[in-house]
Amino acid sequence: MVEVQFRFRDDEAVNDAAVTVDAFVADGFAQTNATAVRIEPGDDARALLPQLDRLALIEVNFPAWTDGRGYSSARLLREAGYTGEMRAVGDVVIDMLGHLQRCGFDAFAPDKALNPDDAKNAFARWDNVYQATVVDGRQAIWAKRHPA
C-alpha cells in the first residue's frame, strides 16, 4: 500500500482495505461491510450517498493528475455531508495540492513521494481564494469584500 505522505486530520489513521464502488453498492450495499471505498475516475461518486455514514475512508484515485474528475467526486461527497478521510492517491503532484485540499481532500498518498518543502509551499500558496467551495471552510474573497 502506498504511504500517506500528508494528512490533515486529528483522528486515527484509517487503514481499512478499500473496495471498489461497484463492490460497495452491490446487492443494495449488502455484499460487503467495508468501511473504505476507492473511487476511480469513471465512477459515479453519488452512488455512495445512501450509505455514506458507513464510510471512514474514501480514496479517490488519480491515474493521471490531468484527469480532473476526482475533484468533482470529492467535492460533491463533502457537499453531501461526508466527514471521514478523503484521500487523494495516485499521480498526485505538488502543484495541485492546494486545489485538491479545497475540493475536500484531507489526506494525500502520492505514488512518488513529493519534496516536503515544495509541498509545504504549495499548501500555503494561496492566502485568498475567489470561490466558495464550502468544503474547504475558507471564506471567498467576495465574502471578505462584503462582510455580513
Partner: protein, 544 residues
C-alpha cells in the same frame, strides 16, 4: 473599466510567484518537460516550432493605455518588437525565452495583467462584445458579468483539469459581434417581461474539427444564481465529458451525444443541488463590479458634425467607424490588416501609439476584437480627424474593416506546431490581390477567415469565405468554403469541392467575388447573395 483591489492584486502576484517556482523546478530538472507542460499551458506558455509563445490575457478585450503601452514595451524588451493580437481578444508573443517568462509576468502584474488560464484544459479568458459600453444597441454593458465570471473561473479548484479547454463569451445586444454561439458556453444578457436583467445560457458551441452552434439551454437565469448555474454546467461537463479522445472532449460533443434535453436535465438537477450550497456571491459584489463600468464623463454638448471633405478620411470613416450611444461620439476601429501585412500583428511603436490615442482621445480605453483589430471605443467626433491623421502616419489607417482585406488568420505553419499549412502568406496574397480600395468598397462586407489546420483557430467555419489549410501528401492544400457567419444569423460554412494550391485558392476567391458582383441584388452582401443563389453558380465559376 475594472480596477483591481488588494485581493485581485494579491492573486496575480501569487501566481507570478507560483509560476516562478515552477520554472525554477523545470530548469533544475525537478520537473520533466512532460510534467511541466500542463503547468506552463495553464499560464499561456506554449512551445512552438521555433521558440516559446506567451499568450497574455486581455479580459473581455478591454485595456487601458498604461496596459497597452506595457504590451508594446514587452514586445521590445522580450520579443522581436512585435505583438500578435488573437481571435480570443488576447495578445501573444512568439519569440519568448523560458527563463524570462516569470519577469514578464511580474511586469504585467504591475499593470493588473496576467496570463492566467490563457491555455490548457481549463476555463479560458472570457470574451465579450468589443463595443461593450459604447454600442447603441446593447441593453446593458456585458462586462461586469464577464468580470464576475473571470474571478469565479480563476483558479477554480474543481475545474482546473477539465476534459478540454473551455471558452465562455458574454454579450448583451441583439447583434452578436463576438460569435457567442460558437463558444462552449455563450451567455446573452437579456431583459425579461418584468424588466429584470438575467442571463440566457447557450452550451456546446465551438469550431475545431466538429463545428457546432450552441443550443439554448436556459432562457433566463436570475442574476443572483448566475455563478451557481455556470458551476452546474461545468460540473456536469467535468464529470461526463469524454476523456478517451481529445478530439471528442469538448462540451459540444457531450451535448451532442447526450442530446440537448438530457444535458439540460442533468444541469438542472445539479443546479437544484448547488442552490442549496452557499456558493453564489451576493448581488452587492456584482454592484461593486458594475461601479467600475459606469460611462466616462462624456461632453453632453459635443457636436455631432463631422467634416468629411478629405476623401481618404471619408473612406476610413465610412468603413471603420460605428455609431456610438452618446451623441457627438463615435466608435473607431483600427485595422491591423494593412495590405500585405500579417493579420493581427502590431509593432511595439504602433502599440504605444495606439495606447497614446486611447489615453488622449478615448477616455483611456482600448479594445481588442476577435477579428484581431483594435477599437477606440469613445472618440469625440471633433477629435476623429486628428486621430485618423496620427493613425495614417503610423500605417494604421487601412480602411478595410469587415472587407475582404480584413482577414482573420491563425499563425499557421510559420509558427504553430499543430499547423498543416501556412496561413499568413496566403492572407498576404489575398490582401494584395484585393489591394485596391475601390475594389474593396465595391465588394463591401466579406468576412474571410483562414485556418492552417483543422483546429480552426482562424474561425474558417464562420467565414463568409472560409479557407482551411490541409496537408495533402506533403503538399499544402487549401479547402474553400462559403456561407459561414458568426452573427445573430450564425451558420457554418460549406465546402465548395476539391482543394487548391496557394495561388489556386486566391484565384478561386477572386472568381467567387466576381460571381457575387454579377448576381448581387440591391444592398446584398456576399453572404446574402450566396444564401439566395446557392453554391452552384459559384462552383461553376470556380471549377467550370
Amino acid at each position: 473599466m475594472y480596477k483591481y483591489d488588494e485581493y485581485d492584486q494579491q492573486m496575480v502576484d501569487t501566481r507570478v510567484a507560483e509560476f516562478r517556482d515552477q520554472v525554477r523546478r523545470r530548469i533544475s530538472g525537478e520537473l520533466t518537460e512532460d510534467q511541466f507542460k500542463p503547468l506552463r499551458l495553464q499560464n499561456g506558455l506554449y512551445l512552438q516550432l521555433h521558440a516559446y509563445m506567451l499568450r497574455v490575457a486581455v479580459p473581455y478585450g478591454t485595456l487601458n493605455s498604461v496596459q497597452m503601452r506595457l504590451l508594446g514595451d514587452i514586445a521590445d524588451k522580450y520579443d522581436r518588437g512585435y505583438g500578435h493580437f488573437t481571435t480570443r481578444q488576447n495578445i501573444q508573443y512568439n519569440w519568448i525565452k523560458l527563463d524570462e517568462t516569470p519577469d514578464i509576468l511580474a511586469e504585467l502584474a504591475t499593470v493588473e495583467m496576467h496570463a492566467i488560464q490563457t491555455s490548457g484544459n481549463c476555463i479560458r479568458n472570457i470574451s465579450s462584445d468589443q463595443f461593450a459600453g459604447a454600442a447603441a444597441d446593447e441593453i446593458i454593458d456585458p462586462r461586469p458579468y464577464a468580470e464576475l465570471l473571470r474571478q469565479w473561473s480563476s483558479f477554480h479548484p474543481e475545474f482546473l483539469v477539465l476534459p478540454r479547454k473551455f471558452k465562455i463569451c458574454v454579450i448583451a445586444s441583439e447583434t452578436d459581434r463576438a460569435a457567442m454561439r460558437l463558444h462552449d458556453i455563450g451567455i446573452k444578457m437579456v431583459k425579461n417581461d418584468a424588466g429584470e436583467i438575467g442571463a440566457q445560457f447557450y452550451a456546446g458551441g465551438g469550431m475545431g474539427r466538429t463545428p457546432m452552434i450552441a443550443p439554448m439551454i436556459r432562457d433566463f437565469v436570475p442574476l443572483d444564481q448566475l455563478i451557481t448555474f455556470a458551476e452546474a454546467c461545468l460540473r456536469v461537463y467535468n464529470r461526463y465529458g469524454r476523456r478517451d479522445n481529445k478530439y471528442k472532449a469538448r462540451i459540444k460533443i457531450l451535448v451532442h451525444e447526450l442530446g440537448r434535453d438530457e444535458y439540460v436535465r442533468q444541469v438542472e438537477e445539479e443546479f437544484a443541488h448547488l442552490l442549496t450550497q452557499p456558493i453564489e456571491p451576493p448581488l452587492a459584489e456584482l454592484e461593486r463590479i458594475k461601479a467600475h463600468f459606469t460611462d466616462p464623463a462624456f461632453d453632453a454638448g459635443a457636436s455631432d458634425d463631422l467634416d468629411l471633405s478629405d476623401p481618404d478620411f471619408r473612406l476610413w470613416v465610412q468603413r471603420n467607424t460605428q455609431a456610438h450611444k452618446q451623441p457627438g461620439y463615435i466608435v473607431a476601429t483600427i485595422s491591423l490588416k494593412p495590405i500585405g501585412g500579417i493579420p493581427g500583428d502590431a509593432s511595439a511603436d504602433q502599440i504605444r501609439l495606439m495606447a497614446d490615442l486611447g489615453r488622449d482621445h478615448s477616455f483611456d480605453e482600448l479594445r481588442v476584437t476577435h477579428a484581431q483589430n483594435i477599437v477606440l471605443p469613445h472618440v469625440k467626433k471633433a477629435d476623429l480627424y486628428t486621430v485618423w491623421k496620427a493613425l495614417d502616419e503610423a500605417g494604421l489607417a487601412t480602411p478595410n474593416l469587415d472587407t475582404v482585406g480584413d482577414i482573420i488568420a491563425c499563425p499557421g505553419l510559420d509558427y504553430c506546431s499543430l499547423a498543416n499549412a501556412r496561413s499568413i502568406p496566403l492572407a498576404q496574397k489575398i490582401s494584395q490581390r484585393f489591394a485596391s480600395p475601390e475594389r474593396q468598397a465595391q465588394i463591401g462586407e466579406l468576412k474571410l477567415k483562414i485556418s492552417g489546420c483543422i483546429n480552426a483557430c482562424g474561425h474558417h467555419h464562420a467565414g463568409h469565405i472560409g479557407i482551411l489549410g490541409v496537408d495533402k501528401k506533403g503538399v499544402e492544400n487549401y479547402q474553400l468554403s462559403f456561407g459561414g457567419s458568426e452573427g445573430a444569423d450564425t451558420s457554418l460554412a460549406k465546402i465548395t469541392g476539391p482543394g487548391f494550391d496557394e495561388d489556386g485558392v486566391v484565384d478561386a476567391v477572386e472568381k467567387a467575388t466576381d460571381v457575387y458582383l454579377a448576381n448581387k441584388q440591391g444592398e446584398e452582401r456576399f453572404l446574402d447573395t450566396y444564401r439566395r443563389i446557392g453554391m452552384d453558380p459559384f462552383k461553376e465559376a470556380i471549377y467550370g
